[in-house]
Amino acid sequence: MEDHVKNLSKLIGHDKVYVDPATIKLYSKNAVYYEGNALAIVFPESTEDVSKIVRYAYENDLKIYPQGSASEIVGSSTPKDDGIVMSFVRMRKIKDVSYIDSYVVCEPGVRLVELNNYLKGSGYMFPIDPASIKSATVGGAINSGSGGMMGAKYGTMKDWVLGLEVVLPNEEGSVLRLGGKTTKNREGYDLIRLIVGSEGTLALVTEAILRITLAPEEVVTVAGFFNDLEDLMRCVINIKESKLDILIMEFVDDVTTKITIDTIKPRVSGSGHLLITSVSTVKEAAQRVLDKLIDIYNRNNSSNIVSARSMEEAEALGIFDIRRNLYPATIKIASSSLEVDEEKPYIFVEDISVPPSRLVEAVKRLRNISEKYGFPMTLGGHVGDGNLHPVVWIREGDREKMDQFNNFVMDIMKMAVELDGVISSEHGIGMVKKDGLIMSYRRRNSLYALKLMREIKRIFDPKSILNPDKMLPSDVY
């Protein structure tokens, strides 16, 4: 191990290689509870550094665990003691931007919040807005295939990557430049879309060309409460039928709404299930669109309706308070449920999607599953695209509950697949959902797809040195 550290230091510089236990510990955790170990943490500052490290790792059978901010929650960024963490936090340059051609070129360590701060004032934005926008990095978001609140309109990361520079985990540490600065590109197989969402298992992203888009001129927002879930869903359907340009469509169930109101004291209040809808429009049409939206809410028996003619007004009124505070409220409840002072609550955010038309059924079945296992659950999600985030918490010492948790998650994943949905929408597979992946493909009689993925991994990474044992189950085909 000492040799590896010495050699890596010689290759890229000693100030880019850390081996003290405190640093290793801090780079071996993620945002749930997975904790690994590593031989060293390396901080490349250029593509050349990355390539040099890869060449060395290939030659010496050293595993590489790539990492952005490690805010992921499926175990895709945590290392094992057979390798090194490659942290991209020092590759943080925004290199180029073109408003005419609608792209920005940046390094993988740039945080999404920094990207949007950079674009602020230009009228453009990068529209992928995960809840972790302040911590998520470009490289992490690409590899996780991130989405967010505006997913209903803008999709996920896969729709916004025009080009990638990557280093392949092979003998030469080859640098490839894929795609380019155009929106249209039909140059062979779409390797970019293969790498997006690959959870660091195929290649190391060292530069990205991202599409940017004009920010909406005006955004109107309505929030309202519904006693009946069927009313809320009819409201969703009516809004979709009305051909409004939906930007955000967020849902919080009645139990969670009450918990959040009791815990956080948001500025908007009411009882029942909460639906928040933001619609993209232009200044001249804002009032007309807003009236139409309010009318649809009213027709579907919504109460305590709050509306805003602009995003600034929505923020001033606190329309998003309940949705945004869902996680903080859960942390508070989880912490207060601890029996011993020195325990830590583990919080698990699930990530299924179902076709939006099946959301009522999904919510009802989720509640049954939660009851069956006795897990208290908060529930919210991106109702515009059918992505639900049930959240449960377990105290760290509760082995029994931790064991039950795996069955609980499997039941949720099965339910999603039965409703023609998916087991992961924007968080990924990592180490926690490999069984779900098998279940999902088996149900579609398509297990061979996993074999194909394994083969793809082998071609990219012949010695399996890059984030091994993540995402893909090893032997089920």
């Binding site: 490690a70 805010s71 936090v89 020092r90 919040v113 302040k134 911590s135 020195e342």
Partner: protein, 103 residues
């Protein structure tokens, strides 16, 4: 409970709420300056404090991390778990100082 034990309990109870989401880091003025190593940002500091109390950490590195904090409170405003990061760091310095002025 002695002043120091009470101080330890207060700090630990708060820092254990950290879910490692990293939303505190982007506003930290010392993280960028100090080589971008998590040791010199709020997430690292909070978790080092937890480690110190629960399993022990190198005291030299811990002090370097804790005493490079400017206690500017920028991170505290960002924490979705409501951890009073700056206050915990202030209290922890007091703890390391043997609790002078406590109890």
């Amino acid at each position: 409970m002695s002043g120091l034990a009470e101080l330890r309990r207060e700090i630990l109870r708060d820092v254990l709420k950290c879910s490692y989401c990293a939303m505190c880091e982007w506003v930290c003025p010392t993280l960028d300056v100090e080589s971008n190593n998590r040791l010199y940002g709020p997430r690292g500091r909070v978790n080092l404090i937890a480690s110190y109390f629960r399993e022990g950490v190198d005291i030299g590195i811990l002090k370097e991390s804790i005493y490079t904090c400017l206690v500017c409170m920028a991170c505290t405003r960002q924490c979705p778990a409501g951890i009073d990061i700056a206050e915990d760091i202030r209290k922890f310095r007091l703890f390391l100082d043997g609790g002078n002025g406590v109890g």
